[in-house]
Amino acid sequence: MVLTAVEIVVLVAGLTVFLYRLGTLLNRIAANLRECAALVRQVREQAGDIVPGVTHLNRSGKVVARTLPLLYAFAERLVARASAPQRHGPARQASCARRSGPHDATDFRPK
């Protein structure tokens, strides 16, 4: 009779301990999973900007890459025109006679 009661007490106590331990662990798992769900929502929200942003970036980048060679070609043309040698007219003789003599400014008088 006593042993039966002891067995029943041991069984109930053991079940209580195990169930308490299981309950604690399952509560912790539930809290972690709730946190994981919130984090997944956050990631989804943040990653939503990536695809449209990168598409836009690629589109604009392609246009920039296509435009730069044209700018370079224009700049080269300008540089070529700017560095071309300037044409001067042919050297012309003075059209009027000399007004002063070659020695007028000095005291030298040729004999």
Binding site: L22, N32, D49, P52, G53, H56, S60, F74, R77
Partner: protein, 89 residues
């Protein structure tokens, strides 16, 4: 068999049942603990992922900056076009 014999048999059977239940519950607690540890790892990994994807907000800003570069490039293109056609005439 006498009554004492039946009682002894019942007690032994009860003890065996208690041991079996204890072992199975112990196994259950072990697996649940394993699940708890793995879920915690998943949570830490997700926290690291969130830290990385926070910077994804810079992508649309970069796209807007490239658009600004593009519009500036177009202005340069128009200016150079005018300059080359003006010096050519």
């Amino acid at each position: 068999m006498t009554d004492t014999g039946y009682w002894t048999l019942a007690l032994v059977a009860g003890a065996v049942v208690i041991l079996a239940v204890g072992a199975l519950l112990g196994l259950l607690v072990y697996f649940v603990k394993l699940i708890d540890d793995r879920v915690a790892e998943v949570r830490y990994t997700l926290e690291a992922v969130v830290e990385k994807t926070e910077h994804a907000a810079l992508v649309p800003k970069t796209a807007a900056t490239v658009d600004a570069v593009l519009s500036e490039g177009r202005r340069h293109h128009l200016l150079l076009d005018r300059a080359t056609s003006g010096s050519g005439s």
